[in-house]
């Protein structure tokens, strides 16, 4: 059995995981801030989370395209 050599798709998955960790932090920090009486952060946080989601989708699509080559 040939050993798996890391390729571009592995890199894309690693970056996806990093973005996910950032998004997880953003969710908990937003909740903490709104509970502390700072509701103004909810809007920008939701927008940033949307950007991170779009980046995750783009990375997943790119990874699929790399795999297909």
């Amino acid at each position: 059995m040939t050993p798996h050599r890391p390729d571009a798709m592995d890199g894309a998955l690693a970056l996806l995981a990093v973005l996910l960790v950032v998004q997880m932090w953003l969710l908990t920090a937003t909740l903490e801030a709104t509970l502390a009486g700072h509701p103004e952060v909810a809007g920008p946080a939701a927008a940033l989370s949307g950007v991170l989601l779009a980046a995750c989708v783009a990375l997943a699509l790119l990874a699929g395209r790399l795999r297909g080559r």
Binding site: L16, L19, P39, L53
Partner: protein, 161 residues
């Protein structure tokens, strides 16, 4: 000869059946990201809805009924929201939510020491402004805004809730 589709869908070896391809894993990560985005959206919707609903006014007690150092409990804004009214001086009244901001245990007032203690995890809040003095609570105690209408003490809103 290429493998028939049924061989991929129903592999002979159990290890292959449990195997997750990288594409499936990427899909799972994207779905998790979507879930967290929905969570952020939910927080946004809740803050907008809360802003639209004004808190009610509630008569708590007559000022002459509460002596210096006395504590009165009441519920505000709803029946499931216990609060404490404390007279700290001849002309000073403070009121806070009784739910500790750590894990919602009921805080115990220690008026002589100028603090409210949480017995669950040894958290403590200052009586004068509700700030955290010690322990795991991450935020100050939500403070009830009071108004004086004649001799009556009225709750008119809440800060930090």
């Amino acid at each position: 000869m290429s493998e028939p589709a049924w061989r991929t869908d129903f592999p002979l070896h159990s290890g292959e059946e449990r195997a997750v391809t990288r594409r499936q894993f990427a899909r799972f990560l994207v779905l998790t990201s979507l879930g967290m985005f929905v969570g952020n959206l939910w927080i946004l919707v809740r803050t907008r809805l809360r802003r639209a609903a004004a808190l009610p006014r509630l008569r708590i007690a007559a000022a002459t009924e509460v002596g210096v150092g006395d504590v009165r409990s009441f519920s505000y804004p709803g029946p499931g929201d216990p609060c404490l009214l404390i007279r700290t001086g001849p002309d000073t009244f403070v009121a806070y939510s009784q739910k500790c901001t750590h894990l919602s245990c009921a805080v115990v007032p220690r008026v002589a020491e100028g603090r409210l203690d949480c017995p669950c995890h040894q958290g403590a809040f200052a009586l004068e402004d509700g700030r955290v003095l010690q322990g795991p609570p991450p935020r100050p105690l939500p403070r009830v805004r009071l108004a004086r209408e004649g001799d009556d003490l009225v709750a008119v809103g809440m800060d930090g809730a």
